[in-house]
Amino acid sequence: MRINPRFKRSSQLAVASFAISSMVASGLVAQTMEEKGFEVAARSDRSDRGFGDSRADLTMILRNAAGKESKRTLAIHTLEVADESVGDKSLVIFDSPADIDGTALLSHAKILDPDDQWLYLPALKRVKRISSVNKSGPFVGSEFAFEDFTALELNKFDYKYLRAEACDDLQCDVVERVPRYEHSGYSRQVAWIDQTDFQIRRVDFYDRRGDLIKTLTLGEYRSYEGGYWRTHRMEMVNHQTKKSTDLLYGDYTFATGLSDDDFVKNALLRIR
């Protein structure tokens, strides 16, 4: 699991997609909707390559159907892994509510296989390897499922281009993506990706029965040094339960000196 607003990840097919787009440009082959969908997703994904490592604090606001709010604060450390056949490494450290202060989750993301995950329980000083097949379960009682946070590596989905349409002030490509990994709670997702900065602006999630279950809106994008875009506000609304969860990100810092040493099991013991 990775709580990351970059709703996209670099992957090995970037080169292939570049080749496809070159061929399309030179008119050698007709492009299918699947190829075009992949190309749009890959372009968005590619815009984030080379960020290295980052840290961010975030506030999570959980709202029930009656509008009653509860709040959590956490920190996220991310390490980009150069090897594209595996995903990034991440560390989520809880700060509040106070009773879970210091609880942490270490993830080594994979592309199609379940991630490697360890939970750190500070009361016992215990590091416990946990199952990561619970993709569709709620993350800490929120409207975000574990899989919504998982680094959305490009190759975790099959794509199909749907249409282009206006999204707020921007023009967006609308792409359907179908999870290729096991245990997903979704039959498909529809993503709106703008044509200016290539960032994801909205995602509709459809449950296994094919009904619309949730909508995610991503806003307050800012470009950091190096041209890396980050959203600072994600709002997930569950249409079936009427509950919602907002993620409000603080400033990101990049090149913070994080290394592989900070993403090993033993590193969990020195969080606090």
Partner: protein, 435 residues
């Protein structure tokens, strides 16, 4: 049975029954802990100084302050089995602040976690400890820690078999999960082949036991003021431990070695016949813990071989944890089963887990209050006695949590180690404020 090795460590000890100086034992112990932690921090300060940091680093560092205050009400459901034991309710208060400091580069870390329980009914349960009080320096791929720390090893749920660094704070609860801070110097390195850690432990911590007034005790009171040691250095023997741990794909593996004063005491009748004395042997132990994580299954094994307490013996816990995700709405149901085996003879500290089966279920509602319910029981396959646990916890507000727990000892045969607890079924409520 230990006559030749038993030495009295103090001829002026009071016989049980005469009043002890109020809170004397834990103050003396507290002083030793403070000395240990101050030494750890002094090393830290030296480290800072040697690296030319000091004041600048301190100014730019990160201070972290948290902790909890807990009210506990424990209620025993039956009349006590032994004279002088309290009946009915037992209230106590726990104060557990946590203070941490890291230098800006996060290389130096200081941590202080004092722990104080004041119990209304049992003086021996009122105690002070330093759960953590250390300085740690994090190098590139290695780290060193000096001071008091809690170290956990293992994978099983019903019994923490290979976990040996820290002494059990057994007046807290009977689950052996509460531990005293262990003075140590620990050096570890994490490499591509795993993590290797060396622990040098210059001070031994004695196990805590309920006092005369307390429930959940042996028929004769354990006199913690008169502990006996095999080592002539008594509680100042330098103990050593080594552990390698790693993960390869779906496997997490740890191998550990311990050489020092064993944390489990034998309980030996005093010559006066009116109390038990804890006797601590020097042991060597090799432990292994393995977890295989596949899909919704966690397969677990902990095993050890120990020399120095009676005949060399083996012990193991093996089992699984299987989770049914979203069994009802967002709720997850975990099913646990573990088999416990222990081969020790009568010259070793007694265990309740010689041939036992643990069955349990954990329900996590995954709501915003993190409501969880755990129910489980250990059945002795020879004696058929049951030790049952039911536990539920929930967050009430951003700062308050509540926990309800009950332990029942059912059909306990007189042969069983748990026989002493047979009348001590209890229910407990804990209300905690976290800051």
């Amino acid at each position: 049975m230990i006559s030749s090795r038993t030495r009295s460590s103090g001829s002026d000890r009071q016989a049980t029954g005469t009043p002890r100086p109020a809170h004397g034992p834990w103050l003396a112990q507290g002083q030793r802990l403070i000395v240990s932690s101050v030494l750890g921090w002094a090393l830290g300060a030296l480290g800072l100084g040697a690296l030319g940091l000091g004041a600048d680093a301190a100014r730019a560092g990160e201070l972290d302050w948290s902790g909890s205050i807990e009210l506990e009400l424990r209620s025993f459901l039956s009349d006590p089995a032994f004279p002088d034991q309290l009946r009915g309710g037992q209230g106590s208060v726990v104060l557990a602040p946590e203070l941490g400091f890291k230098t800006e580069d996060r290389r130096h870390q200081f941590r202080l976690v004092p722990y104080l329980r004041l119990d209304g009914r049992d003086d021996e349960r009122s105690h002070f400890d330093l759960r953590q009080a250390y300085w740690r320096y994090v190098g590139d791929g290695w780290e060193i820690l000096a001071g008091l720390e809690r170290v956990f090893w293992g994978v099983a749920e019903s019994r923490h078999l290979v976990d040996i660094i820290n002494q059990t704070d057994s007046v807290e609860d009977v689950d052996e999960e509460d531990k005293l801070g262990q003075p140590m110097i620990a050096l570890s390195t994490s490499r591509s082949w795993g993590t290797l850690a060396l622990y040098v432990m210059p001070v031994f911590r004695e196990r805590t036991f309920s006092g005369r007034d307390g429930r959940l005790r042996t028929p004769l009171v354990v006199d913690t003021d008169d502990a006996q040691y095999e080592s002539s250095a008594e509680d100042s023997r330098v103990d050593l431990a080594l552990r390698w741990s790693h993960f390869l794909g779906d496997w997490d593996v740890g191998v550990s070695y311990f050489y020092g004063t064993g944390r489990e005491p034998r309980l030996v009748p005093a010559a006066t016949g009116d109390r038990l004395l804890p006797f601590y042997d020097v042991i060597q132990q090799i432990g292994v813990d393995v977890q295989y994580t596949r899909g919704a299954w966690l397969w677990k094994l902990e095993a050890l071989a120990r020399e120095g307490q009676g005949r060399t013996f083996g012990a193991a816990v093996a089992g699984f944890e299987y989770t049914l995700y979203q069994v009802k709405a967002a709720a997850d149901l975990g099913l646990l089963a573990e088999y416990l085996w222990d081969d020790r003879d009568d010259f070793a500290p007694p265990t309740a887990f010689e041939d036992d089966l643990f069955l349990g279920a954990r329900l996590a509602l995954n709501d915003t209050q993190d409501t969880t319910v755990l129910a489980g029981g250990v059945v002795d396959l020879d004696e058929r006695s049951w030790a049952v646990l039911i536990e539920a916890e929930r967050r009430l507000t951003d700062h308050f949590t509540i926990e309800v727990e009950s332990r029942l000892f059912l059909d306990v045969s007189e042969e069983d180690l748990l026989a002493a607890f047979a009348a001590d079924d209890f229910a407990v409520v804990r209300l905690a404020y976290h800051f």
